[in-house]
């Protein structure tokens, strides 16, 4: 060998540094984590301390269990916890069951491939708008009852049955199921691509297994670990949802999360201690439910193993038909409910006179829109700029993190994924109260910075999830080719990587925008009541009587994210209208 053999160790990282000196992506991952974890950590602490009596601003200067005693003395607490559990666990179980039944039964159908297109717009619809639409649909005076009256039911007046706001939270569970189903389905579709489902199915089918059994026995065990975190997030969200619970849930007592928010806004400031204790109880509830779910996972896995080893083929012709129907009908019903609810919102916003039990309004008008134009414009503008700001900041941070992966050649492990999911696994009220205390301390409360930051906590994880796969899947040789043509790392990023990823980036931005538009509690807490968004207005109006006004706000709330998704699809299509490689779907 040559005498001057020098051992060198070179990845792209070190030459990149030599090239331009400073690499802006270097601090981004740490910055992102800090922006993320600091408020959540401080927020949890700021909720935990008052829960044990410590809140000097309100005279709480001794630690003790007094808030908990006060909490336990609250009327209806047990019922509230029960409502949360029924609606939260029930909705998550139902949505998961629907996903499994649909994938197992229908994975060979055309519907399976087409549903994806239908899901994105449904996913975009904010929770509050979806809840309001559902209420318009299933209420005693709703569209369904009108469709059946009086010819089938004989009702000339709305019957006195609680189909919404029922004491057990079943309507809330239904609403949550309809809302979470598209999310879980999309996450499952994403996971299916990663586990080579087609190969597994081919093998199992060749061994004589029926299609549904093959899916359940060979694909589900591989897919489940990939959708575990989204499932936990769904569970946490469903257990602690506030906006949907105000619209669809019972009122006396409401679910625990709504009760806690009520205490926070009680004019009697001493109730804040009760609220803090309630928020901690909510956190405990979520942790317990996730633990319970995890135990259920083990149990199901053990039973599943036995079932697998027993070798039943489930290959009967009739079985496949039944499985197909069992997968198709409930999922289409749930998706249809969501879509019909939106239609009901649109109808109400344009209705002028609409007598019961007429199926359609007898007089139409744009008057509701005209009368609300002022308030709508204000709330719409606030919603718009907060969502644009939060989505833009999130996109910048996410691109920075993903580009850092590319330049450093290292990918974060599974721990990072849990951190990413943290804001989605914790109930919002468990740390938003503390965040507000912190914001007051820093003089940020009620300011735009606190508002956008708070939205960012929830926008960022979704933007990351929406973009990461596409970013990591981009052929790294394009970047290498560009470097060898004399382009520095920044030029590669701006001229090659980002333009090539325009479609997923636009989609991720739309996801971030939609998530921000849907936020209720963060706007309420961080805005300190000074910012009215379409969401806070719609939820506030839900308690009132005028359906037409409510419909106008709910429709506008649903419209903004839909427009964002439309734009996200149109922009890359237009930009690359002359590029054949970009014409295929994402």
């Amino acid at each position: 060998m040559g005498a001057a053999l020098r051992r060198l160790s070179r990845g792209p990282a070190s030459p990149a540094l030599a090239a331009g000196g400073l690499d802006w992506t270097r601090p981004v991952p740490v910055l992102t984590l800090a922006l993320f974890l600091l408020p959540i950590g401080a927020g949890l602490l700021g909720t935990l301390l008052p829960a044990f009596g410590w809140l000097p601003a309100l005279g709480g200067e001794t630690l003790g269990l007094a808030p908990w005693r006060a909490l336990l003395a609250q009327p209806g607490l047990a019922q509230a916890v029960l409502v949360s559990l029924v609606s939260g666990l029930g909705a998550t179980l139902a949505a998961f069951a629907l996903v499994v039944a649909f994938c197992a039964g229908c994975h060979r159908s055309r519907l399976f491939r087409r549903l994806r297109l239908l899901l994105a717009p449904l996913l975009a619809v904010p929770h509050a708008a979806m809840a309001i639409g559902l209420a318009f649909l299933i209420a005693p005076s709703g569209l369904i009852a009108r469709g059946l009256s009086p010819w089938a039911t004989g009702w000339a007046l709305p019957p006195d049955v609680a189909t919404v706001n029922d004491p057990w939270g079943l309507a809330l569970a239904l609403g949550l199921t309809v809302k979470e189903l598209p999310f879980l389905l999309l996450m499952t579709f994403g996971a299916l691509g990663q586990v080579r489902a087609a190969e597994r199915l081919r093998t199992a089918r060749a061994l004589g297994y029926g299609p549904a059994t093959a899916w359940l026995k060979t694909v589900l065990p591989a897919v489940y670990p990939l959708i575990r975190l989204p499932l936990y997030a769904t569970l946490a969200f469903s257990l602690s949802v506030v906006d949907m619970a105000i619209v669809l849930g019972p009122a006396t007592p409401p679910s625990l999360a709504v009760l806690v928010v009520r205490w926070f806004y009680d004019p009697d400031l001493s109730q804040r201690f009760v609220a803090a204790a309630g928020a901690v109880l909510q956190l405990g509830l979520v942790v317990a439910a996730i633990a319970l779910w995890a135990v259920g996972e083990r149990l199901a896995a053990a039973l599943g193993r036995r079932w697998l080893a027993a070798g039943g083929r489930g290959a009967g012709r009739a079985g496949a038909r039944v499985a197909d129907l069992a997968g198709r009908v409930p999922t289409l019903f749930a998706v249809g409910l969501g879509a019909a609810g939106l239609l009901a919102v649109a109808l109400w916003s344009l209705a002028w006179r609409w007598r019961y039990p007429d199926l359609l309004p007898s007089a139409w008008s744009l008057e509701s829109w005209r009368r609300q134009a002022g308030g709508l414009a204000d709330a719409g503008a606030t919603t718009l700029w907060v969502a644009v700001a939060a989505a833009a900041v999130a996109l910048l941070l996410v691109v920075g993190c993903l580009e850092r992966e590319q330049r450093g050649g290292r990918r974060p492990g599974r721990g990072a994924l849990w951190l990413l999911y943290l804001p989605l696994l914790l109930p919002q009220i468990a740390f938003l109260f503390g965040v507000q205390v912190l914001a007051v301390r820093l003089g940020l409360d009620g300011g735009w910075l606190a508002l956008v930051w708070c939205h960012l906590l929830f926008v960022l994880p979704y933007v990351f999830l929406a973009l990461a796969d596409a970013y990591r899947a981009l052929d790294p040789r394009f970047g290498r080719a560009a470097r060898c043509l004399g382009a520095g790392p920044e030029r590669v990023l701006w001229r090659i990587r980002l333009p090539m990823l325009l479609r997923p980036i636009a989609f991720a931005a739309a996801v971030g925008f939609a998530v921000s538009v849907a936020q209720y509690l963060p706007t309420l807490f961080a805005g300190a009541g000074r910012f009215a968004s379409l969401t806070t207005e719609a939820v506030a109006l839900a308690a009132g009587g005028d359906r037409r006004v409510l419909a106008v706000y709910a429709f506008a709330q649903a419209l903004l994210p839909l427009l964002a998704f439309l734009l996200a699809m149109a922009l890359p299509a237009w930009a690359y209208r002359r590029r054949r490689s970009f014409r295929a779907g994402p």
């Binding site: 160790s9 070179r10 792209p12 290498r480 080719a481 590029r579």
Partner: protein
């Protein structure tokens, strides 16, 4: 060729000294000593999976961080390995043409064209000239996805040449072309490499490539790891 020293190499030559690769501390290929004078096409032969492409990545400065490179490389007497990839001015052609799918043919060429050519008119003229040389007059606005395999290969070559490289690296650029095309593209690329007097390093597993290169052939020897595929 072993033990070549800087003083003995012809001007503008590509000199490799003890160039090798390691993965997780284990040596992938035996260190390589080689001098490629301008206008000569040297061939590195070896089965696929031996790390030939990674060796070229190492030369370019775009080696996957999982690997570790060793040795030295000089071009025209200048140490290459201390430079960031974009300053090494090595032209490389890969198995796939890697034309940027979001850019037109002219934009792809413009991305490669050296910034030393200034002014829109001058740059446009230089690109038109290159297209004419490639037998692709008037292809400026075309979508790369609409080109044939041979046309794409030619655009990729000229994108690389317009960057005014000081050496050319060929990473099996003919292996994906069908048999009839392979020979034509190979002759086209070799002719341009020789005319421009570029020291050229070709890695391939196809003996026909090595014969056509008419230069020295180095068999890459595997060491340490079991190879498959």
């Amino acid at each position: 060729m072993s033990g070549a020293s800087a003083g003995a190499a012809p001007e503008g030559a590509l000199e490799l000294e003890g160039l090798g690769l390691r993965l997780a501390g284990r040596r992938l290929i035996e260190p390589l000593d080689l001098v490629v004078p301008p206008g000569e096409i040297a061939t590195l032969m070896g089965p696929s999976g031996v790390g030939k492409s990674s060796l070229l990545d190492f030369l370019c400065g775009t080696l996957d961080p999982a690997f570790e490179g060793e040795g030295r490389a000089r071009l025209g007497g200048e140490d290459l390995l201390d430079l960031p990839p974009e300053r090494r001015r090595l032209g490389i052609l890969f198995q796939d043409d890697l034309l940027f799918p979001h850019l037109s043919v002219a934009e792809n060429l413009a991305f490669g064209l050296s910034p030393a050519v200034r002014g829109r008119a001058a740059r446009r003229a230089r690109i038109a000239e290159a297209l004419a040389e490639a037998g692709l007059e008037g292809f400026e606005a075309r979508d790369p996805a609409t080109l044939s395999g041979g046309q794409r290969a030619r655009v990729a070559l000229f994108r690389t040449l317009l960057a005014e490289p000081r050496a050319l690296l060929l990473d099996e650029p003919f292996s994906r072309l069908d048999a009839g095309l392979r020979d034509r593209v190979r002759r086209f690329i070799f002719r341009h490499a020789r005319v421009r007097r570029l020291p050229t390093l070709l890695v391939t597993h196809d003996p026909a490539d090595a014969r056509a290169a008419e230069g020295p052939v180095v068999e890459l020897s595997i060491s340490g790891m079991q190879q498959s595929g």
